[in-house]
């Protein structure tokens, strides 16, 4: 939490004023029983109507001043809490986007989204309530205690306040402490019921195919029975809260009246003062219950704050270094004995990869599922850093390029065709913010996507919905290819991006890429030998290792893995 407090910095004034006003309100509230006592002791005893009216007006005044104090307090705390969370979200957003692929993989996107949304909300609520209530409840509890002592400095009657407050605190916080872990248990049992329910819906076909309905239902009933047991148990404990506090307070009041009787008899206390003590007792109970609820909220917020801090603590593992050995050369891309091991993995995903290619060449990369094809091209973009070895672009280590500079050189079409909400133009400008409509159209043409734009009728202004829902998979894929082409990259990477295209479109795309006037180096990752057969060089990967490099004709005879892949797609008898 400490580290997050910097986001409150601009709200110092609010953070001091909000609790201060709250405290004032509490103080005014504490005077009310004293006023009532004086009404009884002075007003009624002397039959002084004017005094009674004056005192009642004073009570209204105390209420009104208290109300206006709260208004200020609520305003300041709302302002501070919302301003805080706005700054926090901004900074968290920018921090998350600064993380590298390795951190994104380890944290997982759903975790990051949760930190951004529900956790920041929880912290905001926590700050707001803390500013508002954290001063109020203790002030009332201890204020009531002090007032009681002022009323009865002998402590003969007011001494019971110490006992009552501690007994109430033990009961309220004790029950809370006992039930919090129990409620967690209830939640986890509920979660397990959720899992079974979801499974039965997503796997409905398999469950029915194997006639497992009865068994599943038995399983669910067991889970709800367990859930029920936990709920009833924790319910029984928290059901103690109200009766116990009720009994404690009333017994204390009995004690007060009992002692009060003696004190009044001996002239140490007045009737009105006994009533005042009795009123303070009731105030304490209400505030302690509020305080307990507040503490639950604050604990939750602190846990959220801790989770957010943890994200802030994770820094991008990639730094930009200097490359002393940089040399100008014709090799566009070169791998020198590169090893890649993902964080937490026991085996490396790429082992001893070495190859180089000249500017303008087309390189095909092929291999089975999990053989490391995507890992290899991801390293060209420096999405991941090698464990050992070097990746060079134009003779310079990729880790010496600025990210911006590096990614301008490279246009990548990722496996997953992702478009963002906005117009087609907005999406394609990602490749190059300064591109003209003309340049965009020519990229679209190369990507074989002209028909999409024509069909939609709105041209580049066609609005892509969130996640590209209003486009088919193939349409999205072609638009992501166009997006990579808009920046006229030196290196173009197609990571299995033609899988949703039919053979004809795929062939046309390859032809168009070949005719590009800026002549980029092209990397094509594919599972289809047909998509790669024209490449200047094909790299065959198996289990993270290169098992063959060469042209199609060479590999078909020299590389066993390649010929197996080829044959699995085109049986000899078909040709």
């Amino acid at each position: 939490m400490k580290k997050l407090l910097v986001y409150l910095k601009g709200y110092k004034k609010e953070c001091i004023l909000a609790p201060l006003f709250k405290m004032l309100e509490a103080c005014f509230e504490l005077f009310v029983p004293l006023v009532v006592a004086s009404i009884i002791d002075d007003g009624i005893a002397n039959g002084d109507k004017g005094y009674v009216i004056k005192m009642c007006l004073l009570m209204v005044l105390l209420g009104a001043v208290g109300l206006s104090c709260t208004l200020f307090a609520q305003y300041f705390s709302a302002k501070a809490a919302c301003g805080f969370s706005c700054k926090l979200r901004r900074s968290l957003f920018s921090h998350i986007t600064s993380l590298s692929y390795t951190e994104i993989d380890t944290l997982g996107t759903s975790t990051l989204i949760n930190r951004m949304t529900s956790d920041t909300n929880q912290v905001q609520t926590g700050i707001n309530l803390t500013l508002r209530l954290f001063m109020r409840s203790p002030v009332i509890v201890f204020g009531a205690l002090i007032m009681a002592i002022i009323v009865d400095p002998t402590l003969k009657a007011s001494g019971i306040f110490f006992l009552t407050i501690s007994a109430l605190a033990v009961v309220i916080f004790g029950i809370m402490l006992v039930t919090i872990p129990l409620y967690k248990k209830v939640q986890s049992r509920l979660d397990s019921a959720v899992v079974t329910t979801r499974e039965n819906l997503t796997g409905v076909r398999v469950i029915r195919a194997f006639s497992l309905e009865g068994k599943e239902s038995e399983k669910f009933h067991q889970k709800t029975a367990l859930l029920n047991k936990a709920q009833v148990f924790v319910g029984r404990i928290s059901a103690l809260m109200n009766p116990l506090t009720f009994v404690i307070v009333n017994l204390s009041i009995c004690f007060l009246i009992h002692k009060g009787a003696f004190l009044v008899d001996s002239g140490n206390l007045t009737q009105g003062e006994v009533i005042a003590l009795y009123n303070y007792m009731s105030q304490i109970l209400i505030e302690l219950v509020k305080l307990a609820n507040l503490i639950i909220t604050i604990t939750k917020s602190l846990a959220s704050a801790k989770r957010i801090e943890d994200v802030f603590e994770i820094k991008s593992s990639q730094k930009i270094m200097a490359d002393e050995n940089a040399e100008d050369c014709a090799r566009a891309v070169e791998f020198k004995n590169v090893f890649l091991r993902y964080r937490g993995a026991s085996e490396p995903s790429l082992e001893d990869i070495s190859f180089s290619c000249k500017s303008g060449e087309t390189i095909g990369i092929i291999g089975g599922t999990g053989s490391g094809k995507s890992s290899l091209v991801n390293m060209i973009c420096r999405f991941y850093d090698p464990e050992k070895g070097e990746v060079l672009i134009n003779g310079r280590n990729v880790n010496s390029y600025g990210f911006e500079e590096l990614r301008q050189k490279i246009g990548i079409v990722p496996q997953k065709a992702v478009l963002f909400k906005g117009s087609v133009r907005d999406n394609l400008l990602w490749g190059d913010a300064g591109a003209t409509d003309e340049e965009i159209y020519s990229a679209i043409e190369v990507a074989q996507a002209s028909d999409i734009i024509e069909a939609k009728g709105e041209g580049l202004d066609f609005t892509v919905e969130e996640g590209g829902k209003n486009l088919s998979g193939g349409q999205r894929q072609r638009l992501t290819i166009a997006r990579a082409l808009v920046g006229k990259p030196e290196i173009l990477i197609l990571d299995d991006s033609s899988s949703a295209l039919d053979y004809q479109t795929d062939a046309k795309l390859r032809q168009a890429l070949k005719n590009l006037d800026y002549n980029p180096t092209v990397f094509i990752v594919s599972q289809r030998t047909a998509s790669l057969s024209h490449a200047d060089k094909i790299i065959v990967l198996d289990d993270g290792k290169i098992v063959g490099i060469g042209k199609h004709e060479e590999l078909i005879s020299s590389c066993l893995v390649y010929s197996e892949i080829y044959n699995s797609q085109f049986r000899r008898e078909d040709i």
Partner: protein, 593 residues
Amino acid sequence: MKNKSTVKSILGYLKKYWLLIILSLILAFSSVVLSLSIPILIGDGIDLIIEEKNVDFEGVGSILIKIIIITLTVGVLQWIMNGINNRITHNVTKDIRNRAFDKIKKLPLSYIDSHPSGEIVNKIISDVDQFADGLLMGFSQFFTGIVTILCTLGIMFYLSWQIALVVVLLTPLSLFVASFISKSTYSLFKKQSEVKGQGTSIINEVIGNLKTVKAFSHEDEELLRYDKVNNELERVSRKAIFFSSLVNPCTRFVNSLVYAGVALAGALLVIKTGAVSTETAEAGALTVGVLSCFLSYATQYAKPFNEISGVVTELQNALACSGRVFDFINEREEASDKGLPRLEIADGSVKLSSVSFSYTSEKELIKDLNLSVRSGMHVAIVGPTGCGKTTLINLLMRFYDVNEGEISIDSQKITEVTRASLRSGYGMVLQDTWLQNGTVRENIALGKPDATLDEIIAAAKSSHAHSFIKRLPNGYDTVISDESSSFSQGEKQLICIARIMLSLPPMLILDEATSSIDTRTEMKIQSSFSTLMKGRTSFIVAHRLSTIKEADIILVMKSGKIIEMGSHEELLSRGGFYKNLYNSQFEAKEEIK
């Protein structure tokens, strides 16, 4: 109308617990009445403590004993009542939840397919929870609230109608203020959740696709986009939070008005009647003790009103939630197959005669389909992606029922045998892999829970899953969890195939999964599929040319309809859609050569 039937259903579930409910109501009533008598007793006690040398110790003592007894009784009564309410609530929730879950197995697949699973999960889990919290807890609060209000009113009017009038006239003010504020903040909250939603969708989009954003170094632009919404959110939620936080202070202020009013009216009355204590008072006069009693009622009186107004919204919410749950429970079910005979499979010949089917009445899919599959025949279903190849599987497995015509297996109509026996006759592997929470072993043994480990390993070996399973940290006992990312799509597929290899049913339905398994592994699986298919009637959604060519009958589907049917040679010579499809793959090969 709707609420009426919902309430009726709720009462149906509560019936079982009628004794507990009556007990709870009695307890609530008595604990409220008893606890309300305490301020009166305290007031009486105070009246006996008047001033120096004027205290009735005996009287005070007996009153205190009464208070202590009542307090302890109320404490016990409340505790028992809370326990009972708790039991009723959680048991009813359990009953409803089980009923709702059991409904899943009786629902036709069309319902499950057309409703997102999250929606149904919500009904069974959170709606039922909301119902429990709102309705039953609300019910007890509602009841005690009303009893408290009525008793307090009665006592106050009995003690002094003048002060009672002050309380009755002023209290509604606080309700009015509270409802006024919440009404006017409603639109602010709506606006807030709108802006929050916009923010969340940007967060989902950007963080969900962070890799793409980074691949284009687009972080700054996205931050700029988020900033706009984020700043707007700050502005809107500041307003919403501020205005909504006014409810408590304002009602507190109104309560202090009531308090002052009671003090004023009370004190003036005491002075007017000239009574300082019960001893000196004439009948009907007001004493200081009664005034203190009134003051404590004044603080308590507003509470049940605020609670009840909260409970009413809770109740409405709970009714809406339970309405959704009961709607779900009352959904139309599949026709029961109780009492029908089991399907006896002799050789597994399947016959479809003049079958027509469509998901919706507007769009006709299969019309008048006749197909006779002899025992051991292989039927390939081909067509472009999304052409509705699964429709046929749905009909064969009786996930959906045909609109017209009939399907029979070994001359038994599938509508005249139990669904379970029909489905156990098929081994099914879908492209959409599904694994259950549990160990790898349990997942393979899904169709044959009593299988030995050796049998399971043998099945895994023949589906080529063994080699990767044995490399898992706990081998066959490795736990597969909900969104287990440690398994690739291909590996999941292999486990699903191992299931079928273990249960070895007489007929097969296979969805060839080419997208998630690389071609070399697929070839290996293919070989084990071939062994499996030998002598078994099989329906295969086929992507690979070799499977298609070797099939006895090919069904060519396009946009949901079967457009061609026949053997490979027949279809080629017919020169229709199939020929095009076939050639498009052939052309690609030409290019390589």
